[in-house]
């Protein structure tokens, strides 16, 4: 297999609904996840999307779910196997030896997990995926975004300050006992009982705000790039969800991507659609091998697969 080196996938993501990617609460109001940056020699807090959340939502979750469906693993996985595929696994046993064979097999069989890395029960496997934080495209972040984009020029129009993109939401959680038809549905309504109706609120990034973020795939083969692009496709087909409150329509991102580093050693540029097709073919051809590998890496007393 021919290596093509390092590849960077740039994202320009537009919020199609309010983004509620939270970091905690202040009083009874949830507050947006913020990162500190230096702006005009001052430290300012700017809303941002964490790299950890982006990594999980864009690559791991859709990529692992695809493998579950493709390899017909639904209802068949053990907890350890699911833990490895969906959270990266846990190191639970000590070991004085590295099982190179099992690592080599995984790297041959699954480009997705070669990219993400993870932890078997007794050894950690390094990955090659670097996910940036999601930077709000605003006046304060303009310099950093331009430096990250490198060869691509941002529009010359002045950007708006971050505060312009922050708004608030408020919802009410209903109380079944106080609903209009409650008396006809619920038999034992106690009108003296305290209502559990609850107002909840928080900050949000408004619809239409834009984010820049990127993925750097370090020393990877075409199949790993295909795996990343395929996961991105799946994430986008599922509305590009990030952050919380997706159940009420929040957190939808629509992304445009451009890619640096698809040129191989011979100067030929790879077509991204072709890379995805190659990855899908690879997964389908290695289905059984992947299932065998899962059994070998996370053995159960009685085989479940």
């Amino acid at each position: 297999m021919k290596q093509i080196g390092t590849c960077k996938i740039h994202f320009l993501s537009e919020a199609m609904s309010p983004i509620t990617h939270m970091m905690g609460v202040s009083g009874n109001e949830s507050i947006l996840n913020r990162g500190k940056i230096i702006y005009k020699n001052n430290v300012v807090d700017i809303p941002m999307l964490s790299g950890n959340a982006l990594r999980h939502k864009i690559i791991r979750d859709p990529g692992a779910m695809y493998l579950v469906d493709c390899c017909d693993l639904r209802g068949k996985l053990s907890i350890d196997q699911a833990n490895y595929m969906f959270t990266g696994g846990s190191l639970t046993e000590s070991s004085t030896t590295n099982n190179i064979k099992i690592i080599a097999e995984l790297q041959q069989i699954s480009p997705l997990f070669r990219l993400l890395g993870g932890s078997l029960r007794n050894q950690v496997i390094g990955g090659s995926l670097f996910v940036s934080r999601g930077l709000l495209i605003c006046e304060e972040n303009a310099k950093t975004i331009q430096a990250l984009c490198k060869n691509y020029q941002l529009p010359k129009n002045p950007l708006l300050p971050a505060q312009h993109f922050i708004s608030k939401f408020q919802y009410t959680r209903g109380d079944a006992g106080r609903m209009k038809d409650a008396a006809s549905i619920i038999t034992d309504i106690d009108s003296k009982e305290k209502s559990n109706l609850m107002i909840y609120s928080g900050e949000t990034i408004i619809q239409g705000a834009m984010f820049y973020h990127d993925l750097t795939l370090y020393n990877v083969s075409p199949l790993e790039i295909g795996a990343a692009l395929h996961s991105i496709n799946l994430w986008q087909h599922n509305d590009g969800i990030i952050g919380s409150s997706a159940r009420i329509g929040h957190g939808k991102l629509k992304s445009s991507i451009w890619i640096d580093g698809l040129v191989d050693w011979f100067g030929d540029e790879k077509d991204s659609a072709e890379l995805v097709v190659d990855y899908i073919k690879h997964v389908q051809a290695k289905k059984d091998n992947f299932v065998d590998w899962l059994q070998k890496a996370f053995p159960e007393k009685k085989s479940l697969l």
Partner: protein, 225 residues
């Protein structure tokens, strides 16, 4: 050509944890490129006598019997802010319940053990530049450093992103010692024996040579203050 250099790394995102020694960074990158044994995964169980040290483009100097790379510890520009971020991880039971085999659908302990939900504190510092003083071959050093895309911990989730590397030639060699008021002030972590007669350090115990985290390199050391 071997000269004295001040190497500056401009960061585009906050640094998580500490920056590495530049000797470790160069050894890691060169070992990877040469495809050397254990280059991708060196653990404490591997004896250092079993591995070959990659020939990095830094000069070495013998100080009180110890061969030491001519490179200072990382020096941070002003830390503008310091805080604790959290990295979270959880086994999403609601998403995975139906994916699990029926015999595996049982009560799962998520407050401890292998499936523990994590909310790990990360020490984050907002620094714009990290500087190392080295004596070495700039062209070869740059060949290795230009491929380094991030420094520190949690590089995979966006911390310590490298914007650019800058090189400034220096007249004097500040890589191991700098002269202050006629005395040698140490600029890098040294074996305590090698720091004898110098000043500006605190006595500790730890790694004195790369890989600094490997127990085989542990000894009495002098750490620059």
């Amino acid at each position: 050509m071997i000269k004295n250099w001040k190497i500056t790394c401009n960061l585009l995102s906050p640094l998580c944890g500490d920056a590495p020694g530049i000797d470790s960074l160069l050894e890691y990158e060169l070992a990877l490129r040469l495809g050397m044994k254990y280059s991708r995964k060196l653990t404490r169980n591997v004896k250092l006598s079993e591995i070959e040290i990659p020939p990095i483009p830094l000069a070495k100097r013998t100080v009180n019997g110890f061969d030491i790379y001519c490179c200072s510890n990382p020096i941070y520009s002003e830390v503008k802010a310091e805080w604790v971020d959290r990295q979270s991880k959880r086994f999403d039971v609601s998403e995975l319940a139906l994916i699990l085999h029926e015999s595996q659908r049982k009560k799962l302990l998520t407050s401890s053990g292998p499936y523990k939900s994590r909310y790990v504190p990360l020490r984050i510092r907002l620094v714009e530049k990290i500087v190392w003083f080295v004596r070495g071959d700039k062209k070869e050093i740059n060949k290795l450093l230009k491929k380094i895309i991030a420094l520190g911990h949690c590089r995979n989730i966006g911390y310590g992103v490298v914007g650019s590397w800058e090189y400034e030639e220096q007249e004097n060699d500040y890589s191991i010692f700098a002269i202050h008021q006629g005395k040698n002030v140490i600029m890098k972590t040294l074996p305590l024996e090698a720091a004898k007669g110098s000043t500006g350090y605190r006595h500790s115990y730890g790694g004195a040579f790369p890989p600094y985290w490997h127990p085989e390199t542990y000894m009495e050391i002098a750490i620059p203050q």
